[in-house]
Structures are given as structure tokens and as C-alpha cells.
């Protein structure tokens, strides 16, 4: 084997006349782990989709092992040895773990040989640290992280020459990510070319051999990871250094505006949670998946019907077992599932911005069109959205801007007193992230109680006035103002006992 295993040569692709990828070229050698970095909408996934046979390039070519490859479909790509973990979670909840492992696999025999398949599945699960799962278990019963791990295990198990992972770790905990890295390294050591896409820059630098940075569909640089630092990567991605947020910490002493949560419980998920959250401050729930952090938010938002306990806002009891009750009490929720539980993707940006306040936009049961337009426009301005996109479907916005719409929807509402956000910047690039953090900071300053959950250390430290670490459905510790990242990480992953 002489030349590189994968040659991407002047690949280009546009959507509706707007270029998403412009003449991108790079190569990946056998055994190399090659990162693709870039801010949201830079074109990473578009490159990935062309490489994996989901999307036809407008121009350019892909050469695999010295031969020009026409990747017409996923099947063709698989036959040529390209395995994929898509950016979107792509396991089917209606199937078992085992069935998912072999679904669409061109090497799977037409007639199922069950015993052998179960054995192989077992091995793969163990390798991923998923020894608690049974091959016959429905994926619907798995947590999001477990599902992601199943998908990764599947891709890594295929007899592939090229393995592409598009943001595989976005929903994973630190510990889970480690296992994935180990597996990726094993696959690379076997002689595979690995293409790895992630927004988590430290992990990129740790895992990968080479990094290609994309910006606005163009390749900016390709360099050995050893020659890069996080800061230099960011400069490449954005073309400038982002300014860090300075945080103001002025607590509102007025406890009458507080959100009082007492003994909040969700059977099987949240053991006991008590917190008095004051207006004007941002509370950060630090916890990996399954820690209960996101369950606190979901319970408060009325999405856990089995939640018990007592919740008071401004000295009034909150009917928190239904979303309507929570909303009526003044609680707004931004889910971590933007597509499924967040935006109305086919509706225009303006319609999404006003979706939750239609009842306040007119007299009685009517919606006043003029008021609606004005509200949408001022919200777009507030959220930093391009005003010329107000009439476009949200679907056509980049991930970062979609998230701004999602957050912006709950801003400037006199009836909202509490803002709950689950992973407020999931899959959002650094620029978009800073903008969203600014929005949340402003919201707190305006007198809202802000509570968010996150798995990202940086975000927790940057945004949280009070940080609560959580693990196994309980609060591990509370850090009012400033905390050490290492301490947080230890709390989240090991709890107090290890201390």
C-alpha cells in the first residue's frame, strides 16, 4: 500500500445555489486519525455525507486506495469499506441491540445465524464497556449515551477500511468518551483510516494525528495535531480570537422572586433535589448523562409525570407535573433535543420566535398580525439573528442560529420567570456559544432565574454563578461562585467517596 488510503480532491457541493463545501481537499493515510474541525455550518458534515455515500458531490472526486470511487449510496460506500457514525443518532429504537448491530450491514448473512451473531454482539458490547446490555434488549430501553455507544460499536465492528465518526462523543460522558477513543485507536492500529469530527477541541488534539480545519466550506489548514493548541485551532476556525466573557455576579437578594425546589424526586432517575434559586443568578447543574441533572430540569418543566416534591415560584406553588402547568407558572424550558422537542422546523423563524406567546399577541382569542411581526423582529434582534431570515423555515438555518431561535423564543416574556436549559449549546460552535451565553447572562440580569444543565466543564465554569455537581440522581456538592474544573470533574465522575 503506497499512497494515502483516502484522497479527497477538490470536493464541492452547494444547496439551492449556496455553496456549503468549496473545493475541499485532504488525504488520510492508513492508520491515521484525521480530525475535521470548524464552526457550525462550516461544511464538516457535508464532507462526511459525501464520503459516506449519502450525498453526491457537485464537483471533485474521492479516491479510495488509489481508485476513484463513485459513492452512489450508503450500500456502495459500505461495499467499498466506508463505515459511518452519523452526526444524527442513527440506531432504530424499535429494534434490539443485536438487530441494530447488523442492520444494513452488507456483510451480514441474508439468513440470520443467530448464535454466532449474539456472540459477536456480546464481544462488541463488552469492548465498549456496555456489559450491562443484553443483545436481545430493545434499543428503546437504552439511554441516549448507550444508544450512541451501540452505534459506534457497530461502525467500528464493520470490516471497513475507512471509519468516519461525525461528533460521536457529543452525548457521551468523559469516561464513555475514553472507551470510544481506545476503540478508535485500536481500529486505526489495524490499518484503518479514521475521520473524526468534533467540537471538543481538547479531545481532538488528544486523539487525532492530523487536523483539517474548515471555514465557510473552505479548507483553511491541515496540520499535525502536535503542532496545534486549542487557541490556535480556534483562531483557524473563526479567523480571530473570541473574547472571553466576563461574568457579573450580582445576586438578587430578594428571595420572594426565588424558585424554591424541595425534595424533588423522579423514581429511578432523581433521588432527592432541593434548591432555592434566586432571581438574577445562573445555576449550573454539572452532571454526566444519567446523573439526574437533566431530570431536574425536565421535572420542573412538567415532563416527568411521576415527579414528586414541592416547587414554589414567587411564593406560589407550581403545578409541575404537566408542561402546561409549568408554563402557566412562568417556567420556560429549552430541551437538549432541538429537533425532536424544540423547534417547528418547517415553520418560519418568525413563527418559531412567537410560538409560545401567541396568546399574548392580541386581544382575546385573536392574534394581531402587526404586533406579531414587530415582536418577531425585535426578538430576532435581541437574539442576534439575521433579520432577513425571519421568513425562512428554521430548517434552513445553521445549528447555531437554530439554537438562538430556540433560546430567543423564551426571552422578553414578562410572564416567564424561570429559564431552564438542558445543554444550551449542544453542537454549537464557539462563536455561537458565546452569543448564547451572552443571552443567558442578559436574561439573568433582567431578573430571571436561570438554571441549566451541561456536561461541558468550560461552559459550567464560564456561565454558572452557582454550580451543583450531580451524580446518580443526587447533588454531590454545591459551589457558590468559582470552582476548580478538576474538582467538578471528580465530583461528576466519581462522587465524593473517592475524595
Amino acid at each position: 500500500m503506497s499512497g494515502p488510503l483516502v484522497v479527497v480532491d477538490a470536493l464541492a457541493r452547494s444547496f439551492a445555489g449556496v455553496p456549503a463545501v468549496r473545493e475541499v481537499s485532504f488525504t488520510v493515510g492508513a492508520g491515521e486519525i484525521h480530525a475535521l474541525c470548524g464552526h457550525n455550518g462550516a461544511g464538516k458534515s457535508t464532507v462526511v455525507r459525501m464520503l459516506s455515500g449519502q450525498l453526491a458531490p457537485d464537483a471533485g472526486r474521492i479516491v479510495l486506495d488509489g481508485e476513484a470511487a463513485d459513492l452512489r449510496s450508503r450500500q456502495v460506500a459500505q461495499r467499498l469499506g466506508v463505515a459511518l457514525v452519523d452526526q444524527e443518532l442513527s440506531v432504530v429504537p424499535a429494534l434490539t441491540v443485536l438487530e441494530n448491530m447488523t442492520l444494513g450491514d452488507i456483510d451480514a448473512p441474508l439468513v440470520t445465524r443467530r448464535r454466532a451473531a449474539v456472540r459477536r454482539c456480546r464481544e462488541l458490547l463488552d469492548e465498549m464497556g456496555l456489559d450491562r446490555l443484553r443483545p436481545g434488549q430493545l434499543v428503546a430501553t437504552l439511554s441516549m449515551g448507550e444508544r450512541q455507544l451501540v452505534e459506534i460499536a457497530k461502525a467500528l465492528s464493520q470490516r471497513a477500511r475507512v471509519v468516519i465518526l461525525d461528533e460521536p462523543t457529543a452525548t457521551l460522558s468523559e469516561a464513555e468518551s475514553r472507551r470510544v477513543f481506545a476503540a478508535v485507536r485500536r481500529v486505526a492500529a489495524r490499518g484503518c483510516a479514521v475521520i473524526f469530527v468534533s467540537h471538543r477541541l481538547p479531545e481532538v488534539l488528544e486523539l487525532c494525528d492530523t487536523v483539517t480545519v474548515l471555514r465557510d466550506g473552505r479548507r483553511v489548514v491541515t496540520a499535525p495535531a502536535a503542532d496545534l493548541t486549542v487557541d490556535r485551532l480556534i483562531v483557524h476556525m473563526l479567523g480571530e480570537t473570541p473574547h472571553r466573557l466576563e461574568t457579573s455576579r450580582r445576586p438578587d437578594p430578594d428571595l420572594t422572586h426565588a424558585l424554591r425546589i424541595e425534595h424533588l424526586r423522579v423514581p429511578g432517575r432523581l433521588a432527592d433535589f432541593t434548591l432555592t434559586a434566586r432571581a438574577g443568578r445562573i445555576y449550573a447543574l454539572a452532571g454526566q448523562l444519567g446523573s439526574g441533572a437533566s431530570d431536574v430540569l425536565r421535572a420542573l418543566a412538567g415532563l416527568h409525570a411521576r415527579a414528586t416534591g414541592s416547587v414554589q415560584l414567587r411564593d406560589r406553588a407550581v403545578a409541575f407535573r404537566s408542561p402546561v402547568g409549568a408554563a402557566r407558572a412562568g417556567i420556560a424550558f429549552v430541551s437538549n433535543d432541538r429537533k425532536g422537542e424544540g423547534l417547528f422546523l418547517d415553520k418560519p423563524v418568525a413563527g418559531n420566535l412567537v410560538a409560545t406567546r401567541l396568546d399574548r399577541l392580541g386581544r382575546g382569542p385573536l392574534v394581531a398580525a402587526g404586533r406579531e411581526r414587530r415582536t418577531a423582529r425585535s426578538l430576532a434582534e435581541l437574539a442576534g439573528l439575521p433579520p432577513d431570515r425571519l421568513a425562512d423555515p428554521v430548517l434552513t438555518l445553521s445549528g447555531g442560529n437554530q439554537q438562538k431561535v430556540f433560546v430567543g423564543r423564551s426571552l422578553g416574556r414578562p410572564d416567564v420567570h424561570v429559564l431552564l436549559l438542558d445543554e444550551p449549546t449542544r453542537g454549537v460552535d464557539i462563536g455561537g456559544r458565546a452569543a448564547i451565553h451572552r443571552l443567558l447572562r442578559d436574561a439573568a440580569e433582567a431578573g430571571l432565574v436561570v438554571v441549566f444543565a451541561s456536561t461541558e466543564l468550560e461552559e459550567l465554569l464560564e456561565l454558572g454563578d452557582v454550580i451543583l455537581t450531580m451524580r446518580d440522581g443526587r447533588v454531590v456538592d454545591t459551589y457558590p461562585g468559582g470552582a476548580d474544573g478538576a474538582v467538578l470533574m471528580r465530583d461528576m465522575t466519581e462522587g465524593k467517596d473517592a475524595a
Binding site: Q54, S73, R74, Q75, Q78, L84, D86, E88, L89, S90, V91, V92, P93, A94, L95, E99, N100, T102, L103, G104, D105, I106, A108, L110, V111, T112, L138, A140, T141, H263, R265, P267, A305, R306, A307, T308, G309, R321, S322
Partner: protein, 325 residues
């Protein structure tokens, strides 16, 4: 969550058990013992709707709904009779070929143009109904091939007939194919999450065309066998066969949301519905009581399958027992 896996087996098992028990207990009400003929006749009823239920059920598993099967059923019966006057086998083959073609065309529209199946199959149903009318002049057509009529319904081993055996065979064949090959999982994957199946490498389009071709074939076969048995073909069977097939598929553990169901479940569903009709006949219950039974059974299916109802119950439970360790 876990209920999902159990449900596709629990519902058909419970439905069948319930109906079988009721069937066995009918002598208590009527005073006359059950005979093998009662079982034979129930299986005849099963033969009448079984293939239709299988066709509808399969499309449901893949997250689609084929309304046109009842049109294909009518056209299939009509063609089998008209083309089969001299040779029943020929008639059967022509009918099945037409059914397959009709299904394939719809499948192609649904798969390649990605039009949802309800609009397409509704329109196709109307057109097929018209076709059945047009080729028969709106009249029932008599099947003069007496041998075939007698053959399909002759008693085999006391309780079976060639017709019910063919229907059973179709179920077994589908069960083997779905259970023993990748096809079963792929069908459920398509119904469960189409995008993910595509990303995983399932050839969704081809599978959909295959699926609708199969449902067209099964429906036409069902219609043909029925016409042979009746010695006549009726251009307009009405919507009832479709609704009963849907009831059978739903009792068989399939769900309109897709991704759920097995061939054995569908078999149990179809048998339940057929037995229920037989109970109504044996116990001399009024005809409309079948409708009320279907309504009651479907109400249970609806209740089991309603996430909001489950949540409401949980909410009540959480409120009545607020603090627990």
C-alpha cells in the same frame, strides 16, 4: 419503554387467549357442544380475511398503511373469475400478477417520490374500485368452474380447507422470511426510524416497493380465493373487509406508528377476529354485536398504546402518594 417489546407479543397472545376461552365456553350459553365443523367454519372465516390482514399488517409494521388492499381484493377476485373460467390456476396467476403490479406501482410512488401512503393508497382504492366496476359492468360475475369452487372449500383433516391451508401457508412463509432473514428487522427498522435505517444502509426504497408488491399480491390472492369459494365476484366489497383486516392487524400487535409487529402476532390477530365472528354465529348473537366487540377490543388497544393516558395515570399516582423513599 419496556412495554414496547412485550406489547407486540402480549396483545395478540391476550386477544387470542381471550377469544379461544370464550369460544370454548360458548356451549355453556348455547347448550349445544362445539363440533369440528365450528372450528372448520372459523378457519373459513380466517381464510376470508387472513391474507388481507397479513397485507395490511405488513405495511403497518413498515410504518405505512395500505388502504388499497380492499380494492386489489375486489379486482383480484374479479380477474380471477373472469380469467379463470376454464383454468382456475390461470385465473389465480393472472389475478396475483395484476395485484403485484398494482402494488408495485403504488410502492414506487411511495418510495421514490416519497408521497405518504394514505393519500396514494386511498386514490388507488378509488381507482381500483372503478376498475372492478368497469371490467364487470357493475355486475356480480359468476364463476362457472365448479370443480375449483368445490376444491377450495373441501374439508381437509376435519377442520381445514385448501383455502384456509393456503392462507396459513402464507403466514408461515412470511413468518419464516421475516424471522429468519434480515428482512424482518429491516422492515421494522423502516417503520421505526426511516432516516436511521437509510443511514445504516438499508435500501429503504427497494424494500418499500417489495412491501407494497407483497401486499398487493396477498390481497389479490385473498380476493381470488374468496371468489373461487363464492363462485362469484362482487365488484364492490365495501370498506368492511379493510376495517376488519385492520382490526386483525392491530390485535396482532402491529401499530400504525410502525416498527412493531410479527407475522405470528398477525396470525393470532386474524385468528382472533375469525373466532370472534364464529362465536357470534354459534351463540346466535345479533350481527351488530361483532361491531361492538371490535370496538371494545380496539378500545383496549388504543388505551394500551396511549402515552398520554399512561402519563395521566402516573401523575395521579404521584399526586396520591407524594412522598416515598
Amino acid at each position: 419503554m419496556r412495554a414496547a417489546i412485550r406489547q407486540e407479543r402480549l396483545v395478540p397472545a391476550a386477544a387470542l387467549l381471550l377469544v379461544v376461552v370464550a369460544f370454548v365456553l360458548t356451549p355453556l350459553g348455547t347448550g349445544s357442544p362445539l363440533t369440528t365443523f365450528d372450528v372448520y367454519n372459523a378457519l373459513q372465516g380466517f381464510a376470508q380475511i387472513g391474507l388481507l390482514a397479513l397485507a395490511v399488517g405488513l405495511t403497518m409494521i413498515a410504518g405505512e398503511f395500505d388502504l388499497s388492499v380492499v380494492g386489489t381484493y375486489a379486482v383480484g377476485g374479479m380477474i380471477a373469475v373472469q380469467a379463470g373460467q376454464s383454468s382456475a390456476v390461470l385465473g389465480l396467476l393472472v389475478a396475483v400478477a395484476v395485484g403485484a403490479a398494482v402494488g408495485a406501482v403504488q410502492g414506487a410512488l411511495i418510495a421514490w417520490l416519497r408521497v405518504p401512503s394514505v393519500p396514494v393508497t386511498l386514490a388507488a382504492y378509488i381507482a381500483l374500485l372503478g376498475l372492478a366496476y368497469a371490467i364487470s359492468g357493475g355486475l356480480s360475475v359468476t364463476f362457472t368452474n365448479r370443480d375449483a369452487t368445490l376444491w377450495v372449500d373441501q374439508t381437509v383433516a376435519g377442520v381445514f380447507s385448501p383455502r384456509s391451508l393456503l392462507t396459513l401457508a402464507a403466514f408461515v412463509l412470511v413468518a419464516v422470511v421475516l424471522g429468519g432473514t434480515r428482512l424482518g428487522a429491516e422492515l421494522r427498522a423502516i417503520g421505526g426510524d426511516r432516516r436511521a435505517s437509510r443511514v445504516a444502509g438499508v435500501r429503504v426504497e427497494r424494500k418499500l416497493v417489495l412491501l407494497f408488491t407483497t401486499s398487493g399480491t396477498l390481497a389479490a390472492l385473498g380476493g381470488a380465493l374468496l371468489s373461487f369459494s363464492f363462485a362469484s365476484a362482487n365488484p364492490d366489497p365495501g370498506l368492511r373487509p379493510l376495517l376488519i383486516a385492520a382490526v386483525a392487524a392491530l390485535l396482532g400487535g402491529a401499530s400504525l406508528a410502525g416498527g412493531r409487529g410479527t407475522a405470528t402476532g398477525l396470525l393470532a390477530g386474524a385468528l382472533s377476529v375469525a373466532l370472534l365472528a364464529q362465536i357470534v354465529a354459534v351463540a346466535y348473537l345479533p350481527d351488530y354485536s361483532t361491531q361492538l366487540f371490535y370496538a371494545a377490543l380496539l378500545a383496549v388497544v388504543v388505551a394500551i398504546d396511549s402515552p398520554g393516558l399512561r402519563r395521566a395515570l402516573e401523575r395521579v399516582r404521584a399526586r396520591t402518594r407524594p412522598v416515598e423513599a
